[in-house]
């Protein structure tokens, strides 16, 4: 072993310590360079994996197996569509009730203005997993700055079919695309051609959330809080005051910022809600939408200022 090895290792350890305390822009740049440079290899690996999978499935072409698999796939798709439709209708009812109560007091000129921000979905392929510990399971996507992706944008589960809820005059145009969609994470870091996203369950995930519960009169919006990932299968909903009501089974949606109203997206449902005698807020556990282990593609909800609205205001 050369005599240089010891000092060299010391220097490298110091570099590591230095990088640990490096400013955020340096961290972001390093991550972006690493992720972008691995992209060609990851795309090739994805192609190879898909090719092998395709070959494997064609080799195991026993008819009964195929028929069963097709049936299971069909039923799974049907179930997913039904779940999406239910979530869409649930939020639509709550939204209409809320919308009616708000807009009744607004002047006609404001009511007819187009939304300030519009949303659109872009497809993204999952390139692989980030090198993460148990408490985090970040994933890499093949979309980055060049596709207009920005940090903290929501990542939603990719569905085969869009939910057709029709064009209701009270809903914004993008609602048809977004209604019933399930949030599975949010974009964490963005490179030029790639980005990483955190799952809802990952430690470090935080997002504004709102309860929707079923009352006698239908679905109504409830209290707002912060949904936090804990590195475990269940997420925690914080900030729900003891004066608010929470019941097991309530739906949890992503709360959008006031004034930039868009369609809320589904997070999951409340599976545990407890309140101690001296507690000032509820302890709420939320079961998020399950994410398949072989997640291949997702959609990123991209938001942009609506030019139509700006023109209308001029």
């Amino acid at each position: 072993m050369s005599s240089m090895s010891g000092p060299l290792t010391c220097v490298l350890v110091l570099v590591g310590v230095g990088l640990h305390f490096a400013p955020e822009n340096v961290v972001t740049r390093v991550r972006a360079v690493v992720a972008d440079s691995l992209r060609p290899g990851q795309l090739a690996a994805r192609e190879v994996t898909e090719f092998v999978r395709g070959n494997n499935s064609s080799m195991k072409s026993a008819k009964s197996d195929r028929a069963h698999r097709t049936e299971v796939d069909r039923l799974r798709d049907q179930l997913q569509e039904e779940q999406t439709r239910t979530a869409a209708l649930q939020i639509r009812l709550a939204q209409l009730a809320d919308h009616n109560s708000r807009t009744d007091s607004l002047p006609e000129t404001i009511r007819t203005l187009p939304p300030l921000v519009t949303s659109s979905l872009i497809d993204a392929a999952v390139l692989g997993d980030a090198v993460a510990e148990k408490w985090r399971k970040g994933k890499l996507l093949d979309r980055g700055q060049t596709s207009g992706v920005k940090e903290t944008e929501l990542v939603v589960k990719s569905n085969h079919a869009l939910v057709d809820v029709g064009r209701d005059g009270d809903l914004s145009p993008e609602d048809g695309v977004l209604l019933g969609r399930c949030v599975i994470g949010k974009v964490e870091r963005v490179g030029r051609w790639t980005s990483t996203f955190l799952l809802l369950t990952d430690s470090g995930y935080r997002g504004r959330a709102q309860l929707v519960h079923q009352a006698d009169s239908g679905y109504v919006f409830g209290a707002k809080g912060i949904l936090e990932g804990q590195g475990e299968p269940l997420c925690r909903l914080k900030g729900i005051a003891s004066s608010d009501s929470v019941t097991v089974g309530d739906a949890v949606y992503a709360a959008m910022r006031e004034g930039l109203s868009s369609t809320p997206l589904y997070y999951g449902r409340v599976v545990e809600a407890s309140l101690g005698p001296s507690d000032s807020e509820w302890k709420v556990l939320v079961e998020p939408v399950p994410v398949p282990s072989d997640l291949q593609s997702v959609q990123i909800m991209r938001t942009a200022v609506n030019n139509e609205r700006l023109t209308a205001e001029r």
Binding site: M1, S2, M4, S5, G6, L8, T9, L12, V13, V15, G16, V17, G18, L19, H20, A22, V27, V30, R31, V33, V34, A35, L38, G41, Q42, A44, A45, R46, V48, T49, L127, G128, D129, A130, V131, A132, E133, K134, W135, R136, K137, G138, L140, E188, T196, L198, D202, S203, G204, S293, D294
Partner: protein
């Protein structure tokens, strides 16, 4: 030069395979941790200081791909590479078994130390028992991958794999020349 390019290619392919092809730990059964295997390959193929530098590069790539703060994998990889060089006479026993044994040890150390360091730096608690369990599982998987690769290589080359450092080879050449 060709060797250096080969090692760089190994790092690239290994990291890509680790992130994109190796299945995720679904049911808590562990998954191969290929960076440990790459580190042993680097240590076997390069001179001490070069292997430490390349190990640091591997660590930096892992840091870039991780969701935590940078630096931990870089420092750990450099220290593990130094450790591998220090115990070199023990594991360079000219057999594939030495490679596999070192892969297990490296993987155990990496999978134990990295989460502990990260948890300590971010004020998070880790359960040592579950950490050890997952590290053992990951090591077993990694050793299995190493065994398969060695068998494949043996099949391709048609002879026993011998681990020989650049230094050893140059010493031999020098002795032959004399």
């Amino acid at each position: 030069m060709l060797r250096f390019v080969g090692v760089l290619t190994t790092i690239y392919v290994g990291v890509v395979a680790h992130c994109s092809i190796v299945p995720a730990d679904v049911a808590g059964m562990g998954r191969p941790f290929l960076p440990a295997l790459i580190l042993v390959v680097i240590a076997a193929a390069c001179e001490a200081s070069v292997s430490i530098l390349l190990a640091a590069l591997l660590g930096l790539i892992l840091d870039g791909l991780s969701t935590e703060r940078l630096g931990v994998h870089l420092a750990l990889a450099a220290m593990l590479a130094l450790g591998l060089q220090l115990v070199q006479p023990m594991w360079r026993s000219r057999s594939a078994l030495g490679l596999i044994a070192m892969t297990i040890v490296t993987c155990l150390a990496w999978r134990m130390l990295a989460p502990m360091a990260l948890a300590m730096l971010s004020d998070r608690k880790v359960d040592p028992h579950s950490l050890l369990t997952s590290a053992v599982q990951d090591s077993a998987w990694t050793a299995a991958v190493a065994s398969v690769l060695i068998l494949l290589a043996r099949g391709l080359v048609g002879q026993k794999i011998q681990v020989q450092t650049v230094t050893e080879r140059s010493t031999q050449k020098w002795a032959t020349a004399r």
